[in-house]
């Protein structure tokens, strides 16, 4: 038997009291696609940063093709033939594709341009070498990252959650590229928490839970259920069934909204139409960067319409286009923004004060002054009811893990008992247990008659939650699709810009 390409023994890494990786053993074979499977926070990304040399382990050894490997720096890793495609891209937006690549690969611009085209043809990674990166779609940017790695002729390519940003059809295309690369002699470390994908493409899977290895299997011999149990340590929670309802009041209605933001990198919105009724969840699907943040800001009131744009956005039957966030909240609107730190919560402030930020109308003020006792009681209730893991209500928001802070923010907004709830990316970076708790809570609220709007990148999530789905692509919304009667591939087509099949009625 040939020695493994990369072999790790007893790798450990701690950040303060948090043990991100403990005694990790890993063998990656030559010419294989090897999955690292685990929940958010299981230590996958830390392990990859250690292998690529971005961070250094506290303990443990590594061998590379039988020789000791230093794990010292990204430059060292690249010299050995290890390349990495990051989850959050490390491209430079104001530079062109070829300039980005020239930063990593030696060579003249003209020669590199030609090589980019050749690689693109050979591996299905077509992209215009002279385009500026800020003008590229997310899928194209990922291709640039992969090309950039491939041009250093790596033996091992690390891909951190590569499918999280792609519509289903492009995932297939990426897999095809990865298989071609493997057959060309490159091993691939594929990080994911999506079980079906791993079963579809990987030869081997190493499963992490809470910083430790809990399984090392051939994923094709196990079904998704087994893998999930190894990953989260118990069975997957069952989704909560939604009761069909019809004919609630229109709580949010947007009619023919056009908006061009000041920011030149922002996406202009065109002809947005949507309706959310009481007792209904509307999901907005789409790869991020297609106008989600612009639309969210218009709905939350962070962006206001000018005085000339009347009758575009209605909440609870009132035109709210010119109103700010506070005025909209006063009408029974609540909002969980996508970025928890900075917009959802103030990191340096305690949970009590963060609770006050939006929940002050719940009698947390007395004669205009903060009622400490009431405010603390509110935060304690939220922490208890929404299973927020924290030492106490006086903890700073920034000290909570992403998932726990998200539970607190969602809880805070739900406790306002809004008529209309808007949640952007409800389960980003939240572990599976907490994510399913948040989803069950949303469905329960829907069943109780709340109107809910959800923006999410995770198609599976929308299929679990939403009654209807609309897809946002290049600032335009698709017509509403009833979730029960729609297949994911159909959503995927809209995510890539397909036009509605029938002509406008």
């Amino acid at each position: 038997m040939t020695p493994p390409l990369l072999s790790l023994r007893g790798i450990s890494k701690s950040y303060g009291p948090i043990k991100a990786n403990q005694g990790i053993d890993l063998d990656v074979a030559d010419r294989s696609i090897h999955a690292i499977l685990g929940e958010n926070g299981a230590g996958k990304s830390t392990l990859m940063k250690l292998i690529y040399g971005v961070e250094q382990p506290d303990d443990g050894t590594a061998t590379w093709q039988g020789e000791p490997l230093a794990l010292a720096s990204p430059a060292e890793a690249r010299k050995q033939g290890i390349g990495m495609v990051f989850q959050h891209f490390s491209l430079f937006e104001t530079l062109t594709v070829v300039e980005n690549i020239r930063l990593v690969v030696h060579g003249k611009t003209a020669e590199l341009t030609e090589r980019i085209r050749t690689l693109g043809r050979d591996f299905g990674l077509e992209v215009d070498p002279l385009a500026h990166v800020h003008a590229l779609s997310v899928g194209e940017r990922q291709r640039v990252e992969i090309i950039r790695c491939l041009m250093t002729n790596p033996k091992l390519l690390i891909l951190d959650e590569p499918t999280s940003v792609l519509p289903p059809q492009l995932v297939e295309r990426l897999f095809d590229t990865l298989r071609r690369l493997r057959d060309g002699g490159v091993s691939i470390l594929f990080i994911s928490h999506k079980l079906e994908e791993i079963r579809a493409i990987c030869d081997r899977a190493t499963i992490l839970r809470a910083g430790r290895v809990t399984g090392n299997v051939d994923p094709r011999e196990h079904d998704a259920h087994d893998l999930a149990r190894m990953m989260i340590g118990r069975d997957m929670p069952e989704p909560m069934p939604a009761e069909p309802r019809t004919g609630g009041d229109k709580q949010l209605e947007i009619i023919g909204l056009n908006h061009t933001p000041d920011d030149p990198f922002a996406v202009p919105l065109a002809d947005i139409n949507l309706t959310v009724r009481a007792g209904e969840i509307l999901g907005i699907a789409g790869v991020s960067g297609n106008g989600q943040s612009e639309l969210a800001a218009l709905i939350s009131g962070e962006t206001r319409l000018s005085r000339h744009e009347k009758d575009r956005i209605f909440m609870m039957d009132a035109d709210v286009g010119q109103l700010g966030p506070a005025a909209r909240r006063a009408r029974g609107f609540a909002f969980v923004p996508e970025d928890r730190l900075g917009r959802g919560a103030v990191p340096e402030m305690s949970l009590v004060l963060n609770g006050l930020l939006t929940a002050h109308p719940l009698k947390l003020l007395k004669n205009g002054l903060v009622d400490r006792a009431q405010a603390t009681a509110f935060a304690e209730t939220c922490i208890r009811d929404y299973d927020v893991r924290t030492p106490g209500p006086q903890t700073e928001a920034g000290a909570l893990s992403g998932g726990n802070l998200q539970k607190f923010i969602v809880g805070r907004e739900i406790m306002l008992a809004p008529k209309l709830l808007f949640v952007a990316q409800p389960t980003w970076g939240v572990d599976i247990g907490a994510a399913s708790a948040i989803r069950r809570r949303l469905i329960a609220l829907r069943n109780a008659g709340m109107a809910i709007l959800v923006i999410s990148e995770e198609l599976e999530e929308l299929f679990e939650l939403a009654d209807t789905i609309q897809v946002l692509y290049h600032g335009r919304l698709s017509p509403p699709l009833v979730t029960r009667d729609t297949r994911p591939e159909e959503i995927g087509r809209y995510m890539m810009g397909a036009k509605p099949e029938k002509a406008d009625a």
């Binding site: 971005v54 990204p74 690249r78 491209l91 430079f92 104001t94 300039e99 000041d262 920011d263 990198f265």
Partner: protein
């Protein structure tokens, strides 16, 4: 000599202190660092150069020394702002005040003394042309500054060095992830900027107005910083901006000599008024700022 000839002939020399300092600051800001100490760095370079020329050291040595001293003082800024990650604005202001203080201290016994400037070199043929001939008769430092402008433009447009500086300024985390030493690049950029500011100061004190007076830099360092924004971080526009300011400052001189019935204070404040107006106009176009701006400007880098 009429006013137009006067302005054309003097414009480049008047622009050179702005130009050298602004080119230095351009490189610093492109690497993502905001050094507001330019005024003090110029003053420090100016006094060093003046003392050397006054004691017979010659212009060449004076410029070298001013450049080295500017770079050394800016490395103090780099140590505090990049090494210890102090606030760049506060650190830059402090270093600026330090530079001005040092220049006042060293220059105390040279107050109102004069030295000899540099001879002008004409381009044969061109410098004999009517009206615009003056434009082609300049001292050696002006000619070298034009070459420096070209060199910096070419560096950003064509070379990998320029690419690395832009990458570090736009996204230091990503630059670090692909293996570039962010702090080292920034320190080098700051030292270069300090050197250029030192040279700019030297030009002001031993060539342009070869006379020592405390506070002789008179806000030119601040205008140089404004010029970088004015030029939206593009070398060519920074050059044009420097020429415009050179011309405007000469215009106020020309207007004073023609005896126009305008208060001289108003005329000498003309460059600053133009700065404010132009900055206002540029800032109105947010698209331009966003496309060419430096994303990580002034933010400390932490891994």
């Amino acid at each position: 000599m009429n006013a137009v000839e006067f302005i054309l002939a003097g414009m480049l020399a008047a622009a050179t202190p702005f130009l050298l300092a602004a080119l230095g600051e351009l490189v610093v800001e492109r690497a993502g660092v905001l050094n507001l100490g330019v005024e003090g760095l110029m003053a420090f370079g100016a006094v060093i150069a003046f003392i050397i020329v006054y004691h017979g050291g010659g212009h060449f040595i004076a410029f070298i020394a001013a450049g080295v001293c500017g770079a050394l003082l800016s490395l103090v800024f780099a140590l505090i702002a990049l090494g210890f990650r102090a606030n760049q604005v506060a650190t830059g202001l402090a270093i600026g005040i330090l530079g001005q203080g040092l220049s006042a201290l060293f220059g105390k016994s040279y107050e109102s003394l004069t030295v000899k400037g540099l001879p002008k070199i004409g381009i044969p043929g061109l410098s004999d042309l009517p009206v615009i001939g003056g434009l082609f008769t300049q001292d050696i430092v002006v000619w070298l500054s034009l070459l420096a402008t070209l060199a910096i433009w070419a560096t950003f447009a064509f070379t990998k060095t320029g690419l690395i500086i832009r990458a570090v300024g736009e996204n230091p985390k990503a630059a670090n992830a692909i293996g570039y030493p962010v702090i080292a690049v920034r320190v080098a950029a700051v030292a270069f900027g300090g050197m250029m500011a030192g040279l700019a100061g030297a030009y002001a004190s031993v060539v342009y107005t070869p006379l020592w007076a405390d506070g002789m830099i008179a806000g030119r360092g601040w205008i140089a910083i404004a010029l970088v924004v004015f030029g939206t971080w593009l070398t060519g526009r920074v050059f044009l901006g420097a020429c415009l300011f050179g011309a405007v400052s000469l215009m106020s001189l020309a207007a004073q000599t023609t005896g126009l019935d305008v208060p001289s204070q108003l005329l000498s404040s003309l460059p600053y008024i133009v700065t404010i107006i132009v900055l206002g106009i540029i800032s109105a176009d947010r698209r331009l700022l966003k496309l060419n701006g430096v994303a990580s400007l002034g933010e400390p880098f932490e891994r």
